[in-house]
């Protein structure tokens, strides 16, 4: 059975590490749903969050193959009950004088921010879980979505536990 899984990686900030990881997915035919990279408390390391879809066997293989990469220090699965994950989205919605306020109101309900306003559009910035963002999309869809960008999930384990080596 296919399922979506969120992996959190601690990697050494070496040259080519991202291409090694993306190359691994490409060459073994695994699909990346999203991938985010960022710095960490230690300049030598980066943290990567990858969401993938696949059956149990493929997910196990992905974890094992990632672990084989020398630059990858740790791989863990961010299980929903033990972690928080969020996605950042910018959505450019068609808006004019007749409906602008309605969109702002919806955005407020989702704790979104209006980050750009123009005569015929506005951009909403919204952060949340995938479900929340899907729900927001659903709400603003009738006004016309001009374009959007989703950052992909990023996350941390709950509690005091940290990704270490």
């Amino acid at each position: 059975m296919e399922k979506k899984t969120c992996l959190s990686l601690l990697v050494e900030n070496n040259f080519g590490v991202l291409s090694r990881i993306s190359g691994l997915f490409a060459r073994r035919g695994y699909n990346i749903d999203s991938l985010t990279v960022g710095t960490t408390e230690n300049a030598k390391f980066s943290r990567i969050t990858i969401t993938v879809t696949g059956d149990e066997q493929i997910l196990t293989q992905i974890k094992k193959q990632l672990n084989k990469l020398i630059d990858v220090i740790t791989v863990i699965e961010l299980k929903p009950e033990e972690s928080i994950t969020r996605e950042l989205v910018f959505i450019k919605v068609k808006a004019d004088d007749t409906n602008r306020n309605q969109i702002v109101e919806i955005s407020n309900m989702f704790r979104g921010n209006i980050v750009d306003v123009a005569r015929e559009s506005l951009i909403v910035e919204i952060t949340g879980t995938r479900d929340k963002i899907d729900a927001f999309f659903n709400m603003v869809e009738p006004y016309g979505i001009l374009e959007f960008i989703r950052s992909g999930d990023t996350g941390l384990q709950r509690g005091a536990k940290v990704l270490s080596f």
Binding site: Q61, I70, T74
Partner: protein, 545 residues
């Protein structure tokens, strides 16, 4: 110290004796330093052969083999050989020159992104951006190549890095790579479960792969098999892990293995896989066994377990260590009925040596390899190329006692045998032994240039060249898949005078087309100090294995 000198000092510290290389602009500084280094440089005749030399050297000596090439075309010429080593888990380090740092990314003359190109089939690679990193990188490269599941590591060194002047020397010593901690011991809980399963098994089979050889666990395997009275089957890469003349030896599985071995595997109720990766070639003839067979899979690489086949009991660990853990417990059972059954299966699927005319009018390669087994020394090494010649030698040349058998099993790279056999010769210069390269007329021509190295160094290699004037194995496939006569692109039409070729290199040559003649010539060739080429003519229609 000049960085180029430091590179060689680092290689010396890794006990490197030979570098199989080919120079060029981006390696000029390193070659200047080589001139006065105790490390011996062997000028291969094409970089494509370099990694194969290193591979043969590594497999024979158990040490890391080193090859080297300049930037751009030199580096890209290494690609096939690196991939070959990767698929067979052979520890080699490849050093490439690169254009100056400020030129990287500009499509400069002879610039190629070699770390990018080889990423899919290197265990790891480095682009050296700062000469101060050299000691650490070289130490790490050798450590990564040779530990855990071995494999090729590439170090790409820009020309201007080689020319840097450093105040520090060999500062870096202890390897500490956060993301690389190979696991050697077996998981004790899984070992316990395995012991229980082994005790219960009525029809167990040990399936030995290349991991047994890489882990130097041949002795432990023998003790374990004898103690438990268990038959041993090998993969193509596992040939040599268990002697062929042992009563428990039960052949080679796979699409090109023995029929009876595939039947035995199919009948087993427990397969103890030690360091074989259950590749498609290894298992394609195994059909019924998945549902009612238990699998213990011992492998040092966790990713191999469960990759190609569901495993009942996974044990991640080094073959030798895990076998010793298993040996510490009593797992023996009475398998005499099962061994009798295997005998019967063997009788029902005998090896077929006969050939009909016209094939029988020339050399019968199966008989030839059987009789060759009687004439070679107990510690000889045979390197087989790819094609029918490879399968005939794998199946019919007997690997007994200290004999070794190497081939490109995973990638099936034609042209492997000659450079790899040369690597074996270099690894044994101080204790020369019998070394054979078996190749076909197709594969020979892919590495023919290396005869120059053989002649220059008077390597004691005996080349068994099987000429059937065809790309035999592909022709066999064309016949099997599309029908007799559907041959396309598999004729080696021009009749080469291989004897003249040998003569041109000052290499002793023999040409035979009868088994009796081969039997007469081989002892002479073995006695001859130095290289010999024996051309064995086999009928083009002899395509059965």
């Amino acid at each position: 110290m000049l960085a180029s000198k430091l590179i060689l000092k680092c290689l010396e510290r890794e006990n490197v004796e030979f570098v199989f290389g080919y120079p060029g602009g981006a390696l000029l500084p390193l070659y200047e330093a080589l001139r006065t280094s105790p490390i011996k440089h062997i000028l291969v005749r094409n970089e494509q052969a370099g990694p194969h030399y290193a591979s043969g050297y590594a497999r024979e000596s158990g040490r890391v083999g080193v090859c080297m090439a300049t930037s751009g075309p030199g580096a890209t010429n290494l690609v096939t050989g690196i991939a070959t080593a990767y698929l067979d888990s052979i520890p080699i380090v490849a050093i490439t020159g690169q254009v100056n740092r400020d030129l990287i990314g500009t499509d400069a003359f002879q610039e190629a992104d070699i770390t990018g190109a080889t990423a899919p089939f290197t265990k790891h690679s480095y682009l050296v951006k700062d000469a101060a990193d050299i000691p650490r990188i070289i130490r790490e490269a050798f450590y990564i190549a040779s530990t855990g599941r071995p494999g090729p590591v590439l170090i790409d060194i820009p020309r201007d890095v080689q020319l840097e002047n450093l105040k520090t020397g060999l500062t870096y010593d202890k390897v500490d790579i956060l993301g690389y901690k190979p696991n050697l011991n077996g998981h004790s809980g899984q070992v316990k479960r395995a012991i229980k399963k082994i005790k219960e098994a009525k029809k167990p089979v040990i399936y030995a792969g290349g991991g047994v050889l890489l882990g130097h666990a041949e002795k432990e395997l023998m003790t374990f098999a004898e103690k438990n009275d268990m038959p041993v089957i090998t993969s193509l890469m596992g040939i040599g892990a268990f002697p062929e003349d042992h009563p428990l030896y039960s052949g080679i599985v796979g699409s090109h293995g023995f029929e009876f071995s595939n039947f035995v595997m199919n009948d087993a109720d427990l397969i103890i896989n030690i360091g074989a990766r259950m590749s498609d070639r290894g298992t394609s003839k195994l059909t019924s066994f998945e549902e009612n067979t238990d699998f213990i899979h011992i492998d040092i690489d966790p990713a191999e377990i469960g990759k190609n086949m569901e495993t009942t009991i996974p044990i991640v660990g080094d073959a030798k260590t895990v076998l010793n853990e298993l040996l510490a417990k009593d797992t023996s059972g009475d398998h005499s009925k099962w061994l009798d059954e295997i005998k019967k299966i063997k009788q029902e699927h005998p090896l077929v040596y006969d050939a009909d005319p016209p094939c029988s009018e020339m050399i019968n390669p199966k008989v030839m390899f059987r009789s060759m087994s009687e004439m070679t020394s107990d510690d000889s090494t045979l390197v087989a190329d790819v094609g029918l010649n490879q399968i005939w030698s794998a199946l019919y040349y007997r690997i007994i006692r200290e004999r070794k058998f190497f081939t490109s099993g995973g990638l099936g790279t034609m042209g492997y045998s000659i450079p790899a056999a040369c690597g074996v010769c270099f690894a044994t210069l101080d204790h020369p032994k019998q070394v054979f390269a078996v190749c076909g007329d197709g594969s020979f021509q892919m590495s023919m240039g290396e005869l120059g190295v053989i002649a220059e160094h008077q390597l004691n290699v005996k080349i068994i060249l099987i000429t059937n004037t065809k790309l035999g194995m592909v022709r066999q496939l064309q016949c099997d898949v599309f029908g007799k006569g559907h041959y396309s692109g598999t004729d080696l039409n021009f009749d080469i005078d291989f004897m003249k070729l040998a003569e041109a290199y000052g290499i002793k040559g023999y040409k035979v087309d009868k088994n009796e003649d081969f039997n007469k010539v081989l002892p002479e060739a073995i006695k001859h100090q130095g290289p010999v080429l024996i051309q064995c003519q086999v009928h083009p229609d002899f395509i059965r294995i």
